[in-house]
Amino acid sequence: MIAFLSTYYDAIGMTPAGILTTIFGSFCVTFVVIICWGKLVEDFGPAGGMLSAAIIIGTFWVVNHKLPGFGINPDCIASPDGGIKQYGMIYQAYRGACPWVDMGTTIAIGLWCHSLFMGKPGERLALVRESLPRVAALVFGGIIGGAILGLISYSGANLFGG
């Protein structure tokens, strides 16, 4: 069992253990956001939303994305099998070589699907069609923001060598 869980598959870049932790970690954060965030906003208004950001996203950042380092290991600890040691539930595939997959992915997909499932059965296709341009605009904005931010590595301003 232990051998199976820690077998590394080159084709998918993950171990079965990595797949399980990724799915469970993303399940946890999405479920808590769906259940709690809206209610906190109802109860406390905008302060509730900002509080949710701190307590939900902060906590689940530690669950899903934490890496060792207190200013001491900013380049991460090398794993004996290659790549870096990962302590978070969301496993970055190919031993950490994959571009950063954030838990925003799972929260966005989860909230999108949840409001789709909560819609009336007959209207779901219309709901999807209405939302796609907004999703496209948002993803386009994210691509622009991320790409331009990534350009700072070409300006030679690499803090901590990262």
Binding site: T30, G49, A108
Partner: protein
């Protein structure tokens, strides 16, 4: 009029994506786990206020909720590709697992909301 809303959505996405990945890694590298917690507090709170409370990201009532997570996710992957020279295709396994987890949670939340007293009390009142 409609293109202005999409324009606003794209700007909201660009700003939140850039803010996340400009601040988060550096705070984590400087202050460790507490830096990550602090980053969540300062970035996500103001970006949520900006995108979803003030409504820079378009979300009409009764329609599908489009979260700023889409922008942050896209920004994270593109940031990795541009800055760290990662291969885009290598993001797919983790992305697929995240999507599975998200869909499972969405389906589970539909069931759980039917039995939660807070949600049912609100439904009865209105």
């Amino acid at each position: 009029m409609n293109w202005k809303r999409h324009f606003s959505t794209a700007i909201g996405g660009a700003i939140s994506g850039a803010a996340c990945f400009a601040v988060w890694p550096e705070l984590w590298k400087s202050y460790g786990i507490m830096g990550g917690f602090m980053a969540a507090t300062i970035i996500i709170s103001i970006m949520w206020y900006f995108n979803h409370w003030l409504g820079v990201v378009e979300n009409p009532n009764g329609k599908i909720w489009v979260d700023q997570g889409f922008a942050i996710s896209a920004a994270g992957i593109v940031w990795g590709v541009v800055r760290l020279d990662a291969s885009f295709l290598q993001a797919i396994p983790t992305f697929v697992c995240c999507a599975i987890g998200g869909v499972l949670a969405a389906a589970a939340a539909v069931v759980v909301k039917q039995v939660l007293p807070r949600y049912n009390a609100g439904a009865n009142k209105s």
